[in-house]
Symmetry: C2
Subunit: 128 residues, 2 copies
Amino acid sequence: MSEQLSPDFAKGGGLVTAIAQDWQDGTILMVAYMNEEAWHHTLQTGHATYWSRSRNKLWLKGESSGNVQKVHEIRVDCDADAVLLKVEQIGDAACHTGRRSCFYRVLREDGFVTDSEPIFDPKKVYGQ
Amino acid sequence: MSEQLSPDFAKGGGLVTAIAQDWQDGTILMVAYMNEEAWHHTLQTGHATYWSRSRNKLWLKGESSGNVQKVHEIRVDCDADAVLLKVEQIGDAACHTGRRSCFYRVLREDGFVTDSEPIFDPKKVYGQ
């Protein structure tokens, strides 16, 4: 039995939280936001599309670099204000720093430590 | 070399997004929010503490049920507005519906389908 459910965009002022997780090994690649347009664009294209809060525009992830996220599975949480995308990250790196995951800093006793290195050079991919 | 970094609470109106992921198998258990008080409470106690947007109060996860989340690792993302907690979920279930993960509905061709069952009876744990 299936449910004709849509994410609850109203609750978060038009946005839901979207988590991109590697579909194979479960690594959390990034967290972003979707408005209703981004949600429908993701469903229609099969490529993760977000709403950029900083640029205030639709953001097809990988549009400039070619490093798109192919969506293999979509889940919604209990109160429908967050979605989970299980994706195949083309080019392996999701972070604008060139690293695989945006969560590359881990908290140790004396502060945060970077524990992964860039896979690509962001200057080459995004330009200066 | 470590960084004396704090999550950027200002950016999201006082809140950062917090993802709780099972520290062993990588399952995403839930998504919630933290204000600065919740962040410090988490660091001090080692138990995941959030800010409840619906109840507008500090929310020590598992406070009433005993099903706390023991924090094994904390990560912050590239722009410091999201944190990732790798947790050990006491009682196995993180969702208020009694299921292990809040992301228990998966999108199929004809709508969302629930593909996991409750581990506990929420009526017994939380009362009517």
